[in-house]
Symmetry: C2
Subunit: 239 residues, 2 copies
Amino acid sequence: MNGTWVPRLVQVRTQILKENDRVARALRARFAQAGVTVVSLVSSPGAGKTTLLARTLAALQPQGRVAALVGDLATDYDAQRLAATGAAVRQITTGTLCHLEATMVASALEGWDLSQLDWLMLENVGNLVCPATFDLGETLRVVLLSVTEGEDKPRKYPPIFHTADAVLVTKIDLAEVVGFDRALFRQHLEAVRPQMPVLELSARTGQGLDQWLAWLGSLRGWPRPAAAQCLSQTPLDAE
Amino acid sequence: MNGTWVPRLVQVRTQILKENDRVARALRARFAQAGVTVVSLVSSPGAGKTTLLARTLAALQPQGRVAALVGDLATDYDAQRLAATGAAVRQITTGTLCHLEATMVASALEGWDLSQLDWLMLENVGNLVCPATFDLGETLRVVLLSVTEGEDKPRKYPPIFHTADAVLVTKIDLAEVVGFDRALFRQHLEAVRPQMPVLELSARTGQGLDQWLAWLGSLRGWPRPAAAQCLSQTPLDAE
């Protein structure tokens, strides 16, 4: 890349981020006014965002009103899977874009009355890099890391861990078979984000789901079972 | 994103890609002249690129001269791991950039006499989206997909499958425990890239490694064991 391109690219990227931040701020204000708690999920492809979301939407609905927006380059497979839970779900397809942007979220919400919702879940494109720098106006961002991906990912992909509020270690039922080293993972995470809240779970076996759901409940001030406290090494209050 | 930004972004992106393509073309000519076969690996984070590469470098060295460049946002962990094989290895750290670019490869090669190499392996940043559009001048590009990521990834991330020459289905030793459905995966892949060559392997157990190594050998015109033919549904000749 020669000297001609770099300054212009940086300039344009900065402008896009500024524009994204402006839209994200407006979204955040709108979410707060409507009283909806917005939780976004980011991870590598195949870490289990959609499976977790399916179980989450199904579990939350008896308690509250929940909807979801799901991002992918192509297909509406995830929206179809999630709609089966009975929740309101919309797919955002990004084409070749590696992340969701605030304007996409704003467009996808058109026609929805946010004041009728307790939770809005956002599933980003599977990518451990690009979504880091794009604020979507979410209340909290959660990064999923499956045990099959290896313990060193926080150190190799620091920006996404810097911009998330909590880590879900997914597919924990496979920890033994893949030789996942918890202590080593905690050491890598601690080096990047000291005291970051961590919850281990398996959407397949259900391990850890109660704590996850209790934590989501606690974001809306619902009674918090003692079991859920393992997630909170540090306060996780919404902005 | 309003109308002001989009046209400028597209213009700048096009220029960057053009510049990348120009550098990649020069690299490809240089590789051909030096007689080095360049194979790049792309995948999600944690699909097993580095583990496969470690076994590959170790196995190829008695037969030929091999070097590697490895990309990550941060750390030189991968270069350290791979250097233990005795091969020449250099780390490229990309900061927040989600892919390698041709100029990074060119810079990382400085001081190396390519005519002294048979193979040069390139490991891209763990990302199933961004690396798709950046030609690195490689002879062949191989996309790794681990069985833990799910069967539908070719349909959800089509560009990376469109720009790769073969698929390695990794962690095949976990296929049963995660319930990986081969037929369903083939169906999704066939819809995106009909007749794309596929090899199943496990860098941990060694399953499929002989075929992989035989295939790499065949790229340099070495005798090709019959077992390796399972990778080649279609010709895999270098450009």
